[in-house]
Each structure stands twice: as C-alpha cells, then as structure tokens.
C-alpha cells in the first residue's frame, strides 16, 4: 500500500471506529430515554420508536464492526493490536446488543412492573447510573485508541457507577419486598431491576478488558 493510500485508509478507519463508538454511546442515551418514557407513559408510540432506534443503531454498529475488523486484517494494520481491537469492538457491540435486548424485554414483558412515584424516581436514577457506566465504557474505549493513560480514569468511573447501580438496586429490592404487593408483581419487578443492573455489570467486564489493553498500550 502506498503511503498516501495508507494515510487515507487510516483516516477512513479512524472515522469508522469513531462512528461505531458513537453508536454505542447513542444506544445508552436511547436506552435511558426509552426507560424514562416507559416508566412515565407506558408503551406508547414514542417508546416503541426508541426500540426501533436502538435496533437501527445495533445494525449499523454491526456493519461498522465487521468493516473495521475486515480492513484491519486484510490490510495487515496494527499487527500487535488488531486482536485486542477486535475483542474490544466485539464486547462493545455485545453491550449495545444487550442494551437493546433489555429495553425490548422491559417493553414486552415488564410493563407496569414498577409502581409508585417513589419507586419510578429511584428506577430512573438507576437507569441514569447504568447509562453513565455505558458512556464511561465508550469513553474508555476512545481513550484506548487516543490516550491510553486516561483509560484508568474511565475504568475507575465504570466501577464506581457499577457499585452505585448495585446499591440502588439493593435499596429498591428491599423496599419492593417490604411492600404489600402480590408476590408475582414483586418477582416481576425484581427481574426488571436485575436486567437493568446487569448492564452495569457488563460495562464493568469491559472495564476489566480495557485495563489489560491499556497496560499493553501505555508506552
């Protein structure tokens, strides 16, 4: 590959990776907005539109991931890091996929699982914290590409958000099981809380991956 072609290809790939990370980040926003709508207004057209948007995002992210990995391997770029990049993009894509799946599940099977103004406010708080952990995972991945020294900060933020999400979930569960709601409603609400909290756990898994990659990348 000639030098100008190499730089053009590099710029194109950089743009594709950035777009992929944008999609994962947008996914976190749509997820948060979607849950808020679901809690406030139930299953309405706008809520379903959020699921549609998440699905489109996932599709585009998948295309981008495949394109990036294909180019990395066919053009033999970053020989010592392409395996790591492949793994990182796969994990982030899996996170976006899980985000969409969680929203889809809540939309279909858990409508009305969370009741009461106080509980709804707390679940919104939980979703905000989970969305933050997803955003930090994206920021950590961006830092891996441009500024590996900063990855550590993002990893730390993800861990803080994850434990914060655990704390909110625990508090909600205690309140839930202390209430006089029917058991099946309690179990339904518990499952809803667990799947939301599970996203923060997945973000934490990415942070573990990122911490190893950052050590390799730091000069």
């Amino acid at each position: 590959m000639s030098t100008p072609a190499l730089f053009a290809k590099t710029r194109f790939l950089e743009a594709q990776i950035d777009e992929f990370l944008d999609k994962v980040s947008e996914g976190a926003i749509y997820f948060q907005r979607g849950i808020e709508l679901l809690l406030e207004r139930g299953v309405v057209e706008e809520t379903e539109r959020k699921l549609e948007q998440l699905m489109q995002l996932k599709e585009r992210a998948n295309e981008l991931r495949r394109a990036v990995v294909n180019t990395l391997y066919t053009e033999m770029l970053i020989p010592d890091f392409r395996g790591d990049v492949l793994r990182l993009l796969t994990h982030l894509y899996a996170l976006l996929d899980a985000t969409k799946n969680v929203f889809q599940e809540l939309l279909i099977g858990y409508t009305g699982a969370i009741e009461g103004a106080e509980a709804i406010a707390e679940v919104k708080e939980l979703v905000a914290v989970v969305a933050q952990s997803l955003q930090e995972a994206v920021r950590g991945a961006r830092a891996f590409f441009r500024n590996p020294e900063a990855v550590r900060d993002h990893i730390n933020h993800i861990r803080v958000y994850e434990s914060e999400a655990d704390a909110i979930t625990l508090r909600l569960m205690k309140a839930l099981f202390a209430s006089d709601r029917p058991l099946e409603r309690k179990l339904l609400a518990r499952d809803a809380l667990e799947v939301i909290d599970g996203l923060a756990d997945r973000a934490e898994e990415i942070s573990d991956e990122l911490s190893i990659l950052a050590i390799k990348r730091v000069l």
Partner: protein, 512 residues
C-alpha cells in the same frame, strides 16, 4: 578475469553481510509484517549501493590504516579467512561480527607478511567495538524518550500511530541501509583497496568512478544479492533477539543503529567534531548487529527493573565473548590460509616491502625534524616493516608518529623511468597531462616512492596537491602515483636485492 576470481572471497563476504545484516535495518518491519519483504529488499539493496559507492571510503580507510594488504592473492585470502571464520562461528551457534573477523584476518596478514600492526589504530578499532553498542544504547534511550514524549503530547490515534510507524520504519530502514553500505563496505572490500585491480572509469564523460568506487559498487551488489537471496529467512525469524520489541521500540532501534553506523563512517561529521575542538571520530567499520544489541539494551534499561528482567543476559554474555574469540580465530585462520595459498598454490600473498636509511632518506628525515645523529646509515635494505622497526629501535627511541614517518621515508621501491614503461603508461587511464610530467623524468631512477612524488610535483603542478586538498583528490593522486610506481618498478623480489648505492640511484635530494 583472474582479478574477479580473487575478488570472489570478498564477494562471498559481501553476500554473508547482506544475508545477515539486512535484518538489522528492515528485520523488525518485515518480521512484524508492517512491510513486504520485496519492498524492503529493493529499498535495502538500492540504498546499500548508494551508501557504499558515495560514502564507503571513510570507514574503509580506517581498516587500511590497520594493515594495507598489498597483493591481490593476499586480499583474497584475508577476506576468505574472515568469511570462513564467520561461517564456522555462525554454524557453531557462536555470535560473530564481520567487522571483528575482518580485523582479525588483517592482523593475521600483518603477522604473516611481517608488516606492522598499528597498535594505536587497533586500539581505536577495539574501542569502537565497545563504544558502538554503548553509543547505540544512548541514542536509543534518548530517542525512545523523545518519541514517547512526542506521542504523549500529540496523542495520535492508534491507527495513525501505526501508519506513522510504518512510514518511520521505511525511512529508518532506508537511512540504515545507506549507513550500512557506507560503513560496512569497508569490511567487504577494504582489504582489496590497496591491491585494487580496477582503474578509474568514466561513463559517457558524466560519471567518474575511481577504482575504489568500482570495488565498492561490486561489493555492494554482492551485499544486495545476499539481501535478495537469503535475508528473508533471517528477517522473518527475528525472534531470537535479546527481548521482545514493540513496533515503536523497533523503529527506535533501527534509527539508533543507523546513527551509529553513520557516525563511524561520515567524514563530514568527523570534520565537524574536529572543528568544535574535539578529537576526530575514528572512521571504522562497526558491527551493526552489536549496535542493534546496544540499542535494545538501551531501551530495556530505560524501562527500569521490568526491562532489565526481560533482557536475556546469557545472550549478551556470549556476544561480549565474541569480541575476543572472533578476531583471535580469524587471525589464526588468516595466517594458516596465507601459508597454504603461498606455499601450496604458489601465489604471492604479499608484496615484500624493503626499508633502507639511504643518504637521501637521512637528509629528508633531518628536514622533517627527526633527530638523525643517532641513526646509522644502513647499507643494506631490510625486508619487512617489523624487522626494520626492530633495527630502528636498537638505534634510537622515537615516538610512534616519528617511527611511522621514518618507515614511510625509508621505504624503498626502486623505479627507473624508461621508454618502454612510458609506452606501457599510455595504455593506462592516466591522462596525457600527467604522463607528460612522467615522461620528463625519462632516464632518471628513484629509490624511495616519495622521491618520485616530489620529482613529479616539480615537473607539473598537476602532481602537486595543496595540503588542504580534499580527501578524494589525495586518494586519486595516491592511486595515480601507485600506477606509475607499478608500471616502472623492478620485479618485487628485486627490491630486496638492489644494492642501495646512492650514486647509482640518483635521487632529487642527492642531486640537489
């Protein structure tokens, strides 16, 4: 054709150098698949040739000062001894450097021919063996810090960094190849320079290649053949190095290696250092493999305890032991091979050089400030520099520089300028303007080469160079004088037999 046959050992040495040392400049780029082998081989070959032809004379001259192998069969045997040592040591799994093998082989030739091994030059060469890896370590550590600081400041994307590294590896490989050609051509062809079979060649009146440059071109082509035919295997298995390198560290190692080779071959840099009031840089072929090892070590040590743990110290120990074993083995092999070539194949492996303190030599010595009172006039020529130096030391104690001057002035090479020789001179590339000055000396005889040089300088300003003349002009003048001497000299064996009778060997000094 016979000359080319004698050059074959040098070409073989060139081939082994190309096969092994190309990996020092492009190995990491090809090994990490950042660059295709074919691209690396073409770039390496082209720039090795450019470096060798345009800047090879500096480091090659450094070897010449250690010992001027003055017969083609001797050059052949010396290069063969170095190549054989390299091959044997490599096959035995011992680390060997071409530079050290060549130096050992030259010392073996000096030993066999009774020539003096310039100990000060030898110590300078040995010092560079230690200095070049140290310098490479310093360059590598400094460069690594600099590059890392730059990357931390600019924070390039991983992909952009990768693209920059690729371009950097190509540029560093090109610079490394140029420096390898400029520095290491001395190893390959250095021993053939004093006995070069080539005359100056003009291509369409545009490009003029001296005999030395033609030798270097041939040697560089041999290196290029080595790169194309055998270096791929070495480049793609760079695993056995001291420690695992990242592409960035590999780039720094290649640049540090190229800088070290450049430092020890650039006449301009040496002149610049002298202008700063510092001692000149010895222009000597250095081992690129050892420079690479030094550079890797420099980066390793920069990383502190973690880096030190990664270094394979046993490999380093074996390399250091090679500094001693390689030259010693090469010197022994050279001595034995010279004996065999001379006595079994009946080839002249050295031209005997005789010395005599004739009256004109004594006058000349007095003129240049050597105390001649204690020097007895020597009626008989003494064969061999070592024997003459021994005789001289029994007469008077001089410092090494004065001793070297006495040897130069006392060297005898009787020449008589005669019509037959002048006709023979017309078939040589010596230009007519120069030949006129030689013809003007017809009928005259000279005992010492410097007498002929002075007589020619008196005949024509063309033969007289100012003291500040460029090195290339001095070299050309020396080659032209050697051509005249070769044309008019009596048979080499006769040099020792000629009676050193001053009246019969009229010299300008004696005449004056």
């Amino acid at each position: 054709m016979g000359s080319l046959l004698f050059l074959s050992s040098g070409l073989f040495l060139g081939w082994t150098l190309g096969a092994n040392d190309a990996s020092n400049v492009f190995g990491s780029a090809v090994g990490s698949r950042m660059l295709r082998f074919s691209t690396a081989a073409v770039l390496c070959s082209v720039f090795v040739i450019i470096g060798a032809v345009t800047a090879g004379a500096g480091a090659s001259g450094g070897l010449g000062e250690l010992g001027a192998v003055n017969a083609l069969a001797g050059s052949f045997t010396t290069a063969l001894a170095a190549a054989a040592t390299m091959t044997w040591m490599t096959r035995a799994g011992l680390p060997a450097s071409t530079t050290q093998a060549v130096v050992g082989a030259i010392v073996g030739w000096n030993w066999f021919s009774g020539s003096i091994t310039d100990l000060s030059q030898l110590s300078r060469i040995v010092a560079t063996w230690v200095l070049s890896p140290l310098l490479a370590a310093l360059f590598a550590a400094g460069l690594y810090r600099l590059v890392v600081a730059g990357i931390r400041r600019t924070r390039p994307h991983l992909l952009r960094l990768d693209a920059n590294l690729r371009v950097g590896l190509i540029l560093a490989g090109v610079f490394g190849s140029y420096s390898l050609g400029a520095n290491n051509i001395g190893n390959v062809m250095g021993v053939f320079v004093p006995a070069s079979p080539f005359q100056e060649l003009s291509i369409a009146g545009l490009v003029r290649l001296s005999g030395e440059e033609q030798l270097f071109l041939l040697g560089a082509i041999a290196i290029a053949v080595g790169v194309f035919t055998y270096s791929r295997r070495v480049m793609t298995t760079v695993g056995g190095s001291l420690m695992t390198l990242s592409p960035l560290a590999a780039l720094v190692v290649v640049v540090a290696n190229a800088l070290v080779l450049f430092v020890f071959s650039s006449r301009q840099l040496s002149a610049f250092v002298v202008a700063l009031g510092l001692p000149p840089i010895p222009l000597i072929p250095v081992s690129s493999s050892q420079a690479v090892i030094g550079a890797v070590l420099g980066i390793g040590l920069l990383q502190g305890a973690r880096g030190v743990r990664q270094i394979r110290w046993d490999v380093l120990g074996r390399i250091a032991s090679g500094w001693l074993t390689t030259p010693v083995i090469a010197a022994l092999v050279s001595f034995v091979l010279l004996f065999v070539v001379q006595n079994v194949f009946g080839q002249q492996v050295y031209r005997p050089v005789a010395y005599q303190l004739s009256p004109p030599a004594l006058v000349r010595l007095a003129q240049v400030g050597i105390p001649t009172e204690a020097l007895a006039m020597d009626r008989e020529p003494v064969q061999g520099a070592v024997r003459f130096r021994g005789w001289l030391r029994r007469q008077v104690r001089l410092d090494p520089a004065e001793e070297a001057l006495v040897l130069r002035i006392a060297e005898i090479r009787p020449v008589s300028i005669h019509a037959e020789g002048l006709r023979a001179l017309e078939d040589t590339p010596l230009s007519p303007a120069y030949r006129v000055a030689v013809a003007a000396l017809q009928g005259r005889s000279f005992l010492h080469p410097w007498q002929l040089a002075e007589a020619l300088a008196r005949q024509s300003p063309l033969w007289s160079l100012p003291s500040a003349a460029p090195v290339a002009a001095v070299k050309r003048q020396e080659a032209q004088l050697a051509l005249v001497l070769d044309t008019f000299t009596a048979a080499p064996e006769a040099a020792g037999r000629l009676p050193p009778s001053p009246p019969s060997l009229a010299s300008p000094q004696a005449e004056g």
